[in-house]
């Protein structure tokens, strides 16, 4: 794998010295199927002598067996790593490749051009400094070219190389090249791409990849390798940003040392510099920058270090240490762009885990402002996002976090969304700005508060949340419970599914999105009533775990009692008090829970009532006993 360097044989020490100071560039290649992407990467690896003879031998054998290039080497086979892909002949995931020259080490993210794999491209581009966008000279700028360009601009890749490939197949025509370049630049200007280099090349023949090609004497720009070796790496820009340091881990080996371990994700930190801990806002001074190789005077973006501070202040994982003179913003409501990567759609009102830096919080999706057609850049009104869709949303977090706009800093402005049930990463997001709404509408600090109202009423307040299939007996239990509490002289209010849908929620239907909104409103109303000092009883199917969790999160932990009114589907269906199951079975009622819409049973309900063995009266006794035990009836 010798780089062509005579130094290796003659003076290995000098060679090593030279190679100790290489920089690192990460880039992504994007193109449609058959644009020659894998061939181009294979060529770069080959030309930089990163392939060994045994690998070339294996490649030649594979090329003959499954290759698509006749007797020639099929470089694509080098990259299509997984057996399933090799059979299908397409790249289906992100693969990382490495090569280096005398000046730089390169990490290449190779991502597929297929429409359904937007998430892979976004993933590969998230760490890239540069993107190579391949265009087949015979086909020109395609819908996919626009889409790939838009995605790389969205994720903030700063340098774009447009590789007009297969020039050999258009006889190295300057006219074709000029036409495609003009068309591309016009489009790129619209989406705000700035640093663009257009290169005519041939991956198969090797034109303008390493050496300037004699086939394109009219082309005066750099070769591809030349550009890759000299383009400005992101670090330079990053170091000019204000200092940011998300605390990953508190290092406390003994009582004398308390260090904050993390990676500098923006700017430079110097010993003695004034810093601010966010979101708390406390300030201190950097006492030491600790590394295993000795203390440093300064640390720059991308370095992993451990900081100690002059003052003892409370800092934990997820806090951000910032330059005191230029701190990050702190907020709990944002506008953001989200790329949806989950199989289930993103729903308004649903809550997800959000990881930003080293902090994981709960985020609730507020209105979706619009989704984007990535081919036409149109804004389309939408209620939800499905797999590979991109939209602009408002988000609310359960606590304040430090952040920067994504365009200023990828690390303090980029986040992932995690499904609470499957634990999968289902979205990637980029923060735009904080919504001032939360700041402007201050919660009215009223003097008569919940405690005062409870005292006057001589009782506690809480939500008794009944969940279960239609026909399980929720309303029966709810009614009996309210009567029982009334007789005990307790102030209550019963929110029943059917009744609420006649008024407050009569604009909502039964789609998954509407069901989420239905429960969100009920949760909010319950919260106000708890604040008013009442015991609220709710009787809703509330089929989804995440909405029930949202309702629980809306109030204090000891104010929510989840009661699972459990009847097996066949029992509930036999009862069929309202005749709804029959209708649903006949197909007259869509999205009916248990029939064609799922019910997610509670995993750990506070009270579990098996209605096949427990009567409604017994159920009420169980609930009252629980209310008593929690001191809510005093």
């Amino acid at each position: 794998m010798a780089h062509i360097s005579e130094l290796i044989a003659q003076d290995i020490d000098a060679y090593l010295k030279q190679h100790e100071v290489k920089s690192l560039l990460r880039f992504i290649t994007c193109g449609s199927v058959d644009d020659g992407k894998s061939t181009l990467i294979g060529r770069l690896l080959h030309e930089s002598k990163m392939l060994f003879e045994d690998q070339i031998a294996a490649l030649e054998a594979d090329s003959k067996k499954v290759g698509t290039r006749g007797d020639e080497i099929d470089y694509a086979l080098l990259l299509d790593g997984l057996a399933a892909e090799r059979e299908q002949g397409i790249t289906i995931d992100v693969a990382y490749r490495f090569f280096s020259t005398d000046r730089r080490k390169f990490i290449v993210a190779d991502t597929p051009g297929h429409e359904q794999y937007t998430r892979n491209m976004i993933t590969g581009a998230s760490t890239a400094d540069l993107a190579i966008i391949l265009i087949d000279a015979r086909k020109g700028v395609l819908v996919q070219t626009r889409r790939h360009s838009f995605l790389v601009s969205l994720i903030g890749v700063r340098h774009i190389v447009v590789a007009i490939n297969k020039m050999d197949l258009v006889d190295y025509s300057r006219e074709e090249f000029d036409r495609i370049e003009a068309e591309y630049r016009e489009f790129a200007a619209k989406i705000g791409l700035e640093d663009i280099t257009v290169i005519p090349l041939s991956g198969v023949k090797g034109d303008n990849i390493i050496e300037r090609s004699s086939n394109t004497p009219w082309y005066k720009g750099p070769t591809l390798m030349n550009l890759l070796e000299t383009v400005e790496v992101n670090e330079e820009r990053l170091q000019k940003q204000p200092f940011r340091f998300p605390v990953q881990w508190v290092n406390r080996p003994n009582l004398d040392f308390r260090g904050f371990a993390g990676t500098v994700v923006g700017g430079v930190v110097r010993r003695g510099e004034r810093i601010r801990v966010q979101p708390s806002g406390r300030e201190s001074t950097v006492a030491r920058i600790v590394t295993a190789d000795g203390d440093l005077e300064q640390a720059v973006a991308n370095q992993s270090v451990t900081l100690t501070l002059a003052d003892e202040i409370d800092i934990s994982r997820g806090d951000v240490i910032s330059a005191a003179a230029a701190p990050a913003q702190v907020a709990d409501q944002f506008e953001a762009t989200i790329v949806w990567m989950g199989d289930d759609p993103m729903l308004r009102g649903r809550s997800y885990l959000l990881k930003l830096g080293a902090k994981t919080v709960t985020a609730t999706i507020l209105p979706l402002k619009y989704k984007l057609n990535v081919n036409t850049l149109e804004h389309i009104p939408a209620e939800q996002l499905t797999l590979n869709e991109i939209g602009v949303v408002e988000l609310e977090l359960d606590r304040r976090v430090a952040f920067d706009a994504y365009k200023d800093n990828r690390d303090t402005g980029g986040f992932i969304l995690i499904d609470r049930l499957t634990n999968n990463t289902i979205g990637a997001g980029m923060l735009h700005f904080a919504l001032r709404r939360a700041d402007n509408i201050h919660w009215q600090a009223v003097e008569v508060n919940k405690e005062a109202r409870r005292k006057l009423g001589g009782q506690g307040s809480a939500v008794v949340w009944l969940t279960g299939l239609s026909g399980a007996g929720k309303s029966t239990v709810a009614n009996l419970l309210e009567k029982r509490l009334y007789r005990m002289g307790k102030r209550t209010y019963l929110l029943d599914g059917d009744n609420v849908r006649h008024g407050l929620n009569k604009d909502l239907g039964f789609t998954a999105a509407d069901r989420v909104e239905n429960i969100r409103r009920v949760a909010e109303v319950s919260k106000l009533m708890v604040d008013a000092g009442l015991i609220v009883i709710t009787a809703f199917i509330s089929p989804f775990i995440s909405e029930r969790r949202m309702a629980r999160d809306a109030v204090e932990t000891d104010e929510f009692i989840e009661v699972f009114v459990d009847a097996p589907l066949h029992v509930a269906e036999e009862r069929d008090v309202k005749g709804l199951y029959k209708k649903a079975r006949r197909g007259e009622l869509k999205n009916f829970t248990g029939i064609d819409s799922p019910y997610e049973p509670p995993q750990e309900p506070d009270i579990h009532i098996d209605t096949t063995t427990t009567s409604a009266e017994e159920a009420v006794e169980l609930i009252v006993a629980r209310l008593n035990a929690s001191g809510l009836l005093e």
């Binding site: 794998m1 294996a58 490495f98 080490k105 634990n423």
Partner: protein, 300 residues
């Protein structure tokens, strides 16, 4: 303006990954195979948590067929770092006396390594295991995530991997799942050697050329490391100046003839070499997709 070198960037990335694991895992462990990649990974762990020692134990899934020098190195590193060393040997493989000579590389590797690893992780309840695999080693690795999830039965599902964006790793796992984390995913063989050279990372002497007794088996030079090595009729060990580019079980690891006795000489040889390092490792030879298959079954 300070432009970090590629090695500084790689080091910082690996440290970031290790800290993320320690902050979020319940019971992490580092798989320590004593080779050069493990040596670098261990060195990085020492840096990541300095001045504290790495807050997890080392686990060596032992096949009982490693080179003697490797066992010496293992015990030395454990005592130098002050980390707990857990050595696990599959008792079933031991009872059946599984060895590469009688059972072949496939069964040997499966019983001692694949099954042994699964048993060890289950026995101690480790939820995250660091491994020293690199993406440049082999094609299926190139597509594996840094945080690679395994089902309760330790299977890998390459079609169902979580996207990894920016420096953000989703470490949340479902009941019974565990994670293999590869902090040196983005290092190449050359990076590893350069780093060992620059940082003076201690490595097993077998990587350096010395006079050693070897026999030629189908073009592969196998070292006669102890008396368990059965010699074929008429076979006498030759004394040759050899070294190893990769280390595993001694009967399954081919030596190369070499005069390289210093790190720069090793790097020089590697740069001028014409075959890749895994060629000396026999398990990859089985079939083109062999590593992917082994991984799906739980190997690493």
């Amino acid at each position: 303006m300070t432009i970090l070198t590629h090695l500084q960037r790689l080091e910082a990335e690996s440290i970031h990954i290790m800290r993320e694991v320690v902050a979020e895992a319940d019971k992490p462990v580092m798989l320590y195979s004593i080779g050069k990649d493990s040596a670098v990974m261990l060195h990085l762990a020492k840096k990541a948590f300095y001045p504290a020692p790495p807050p997890f134990p080392l686990l060596h899934v032992d096949t009982t067929w490693k080179f003697r020098d490797m066992y010496v190195m293992r015990d030395r590193m454990a005592s130098e770092t002050g980390m707990d060393l857990i050595v696990y040997q599959n008792s079933e493989a031991q009872a059946l006396n599984i060895n590469p000579f009688d059972h072949g590389s496939e069964i040997h590797t499966d019983m001692w390594k694949t099954q042994g690893l699964k048993q060890a992780l289950d026995k101690y309840g480790f939820d995250v295991a660091f491994g020293g695999a690199r993406r440049d080693e082999e094609k299926s690795r190139a597509k594996e995530r840094i945080f690679s999830f395994r089902t309760a039965t330790h299977h890998w599902d390459p079609k169902n991997q979580r996207p990894e964006l920016w420096r953000l790793y989703n470490t949340r796992k479902n009941k019974g799942e565990s994670i293999r984390v590869f902090p040196i995913s983005n290092w190449t063989e050359l990076d590893i050697w350069q780093y060992i050279h620059l940082e003076k990372v201690p490595i097993v002497p077998l990587y350096f050329a010395a006079l050693r007794p070897v026999v030629d088996r189908n073009g592969t030079l196998v070292m006669v490391d102890d008396e368990r090595m059965p010699l074929r009729t008429g076979e006498t060990p030759m004394i040759k100046s050899v070294r190893f580019r990769t280390l595993g079980c001694y009967p399954l690891t081919g030596a190369v003839e070499s005069e390289a006795t210093t790190l720069p000489q090793i790097i020089q040889e590697m740069l001028l070499a014409t075959t890749s390092e895994r060629q000396g490792r026999m398990i990859d030879h089985d079939s083109a997709a062999s590593m992917e298959k082994k991984k799906q079954e739980g190997y690493f």
